[in-house]
């Protein structure tokens, strides 16, 4: 069964907290990784790798650069 947006958001919050130390509660759908959360391109790779382990969806580098917000990642995982 496909995961809900809330389930993916909770998982992403946990992953982002582990990698960057940002509190999971700050990870909300409208946030931009670069502008709002100050996450750099290498941390984005770590997040993509951890998300693959967690959700079983591969996010290749050429797709990763198009994922600007938390919501973009949620949509990518759901699609």
């Amino acid at each position: 069964m496909a995961l809900t947006e809330q389930e993916i958001l909770a998982g992403l919050g946990k992953i982002i907290n582990e990698i960057t130390g940002i509190p999971a509660a700050e990870v909300t759908p409208e946030k931009s990784f670069v502008d709002d959360l100050d996450i750099d391109s290498l941390s984005m790779v770590e997040i993509a790798v951890a998300a693959q382990d967690e959700f079983g969806v591969e996010i290749p580098d050429d797709q990763l650069k198009n994922l600007k917000t938390v919501k973009d990642v949620i949509n990518f995982i759901q699609s």
């Binding site: 750099d40 391109s41 290498l42 790779v45 790798v49 580098d61 990763l64 650069k65």
Partner: protein, 318 residues
Amino acid sequence: MRQTQGAPGARVLAFGGYQPANVITNEHLAKTMDTSDEWIRSRVGIVERRVAGPEESEVDLAVQAGGKALAASGLSASDIDLVIVATCTLETQIPNAASRVAHRLGIVAPGAFDVNAACAGFCYALAAAADAIRGGSATHVLVVGSEKLSQWVDWTDRTTAVIFGDGAGAAVVGPSDTPGIGPVVWGSVGEKADAIKVKDRNSFLQQEGQAVFRWATTALHPVARRACERAGVRPEDLAAFVPHQANLRIVEAIARKLGAEKAVIAKDIVLSGNTSAASIPLALSRMIERGEVPSGGLALLLGFGAGLTYAGQVIEIP
């Protein structure tokens, strides 16, 4: 036809390292390109690097490091019968570096060849040296990793210029009754060859940072574990873990996933930058000089870089 058989084992007798005198700080780079000390430290963990001037060649760096290792080994030049130089940044491809390094050090008529496995080159060369000694093709081998990356870097490109440095590291390898250099685990990923490249002889080094970072932080800790397994060593038995100094975040990620709790982790990149094939022997020689690692302890070396290539082995620290 007869075959030769060499010593039962091989071990590193001594290390030596050398860096050019000129220090380039992050502040200096921030004056010439759009970057900052904070940006460089957070992305790659580098504070400063050394750069050789036009008067100092890649071979000069190799001679300095090789001479130090030879002196520390207690051997003389006449004891060495094979010289291997790992490098990917020679000014020209012909002649090779190893013959010139040998001649400059007074080593007469040794076998002499270069290895290009980029940042993994030192581990490849060390494996070749150990096998040559055990196979009876050599008795004492000088193995050098030497790089003058500064001449292949675009000093206006902030994605590469902040990362690399020049330097050399060397090891003298000799015969041993007991194993002092463990079995190598090596391999390559040719389908990702474009990730780190110099396009042609008039171009500079280019790197797909994210792709390399992803590969390095996901594919290499299993290689590190296999190198331990093949040597019959547990990660928790390691006194030192000396991965290629590519990027501090890569070093820390691999170390974390390897789980070598008691090992001193090499973080020489902070003050040396990424020196490709030189980084492992340079880092380890400095750790030995500072007394951070015990003689007789076990160190896991892990090289990885352009190719993509990788190689790792456990060694006994001299």
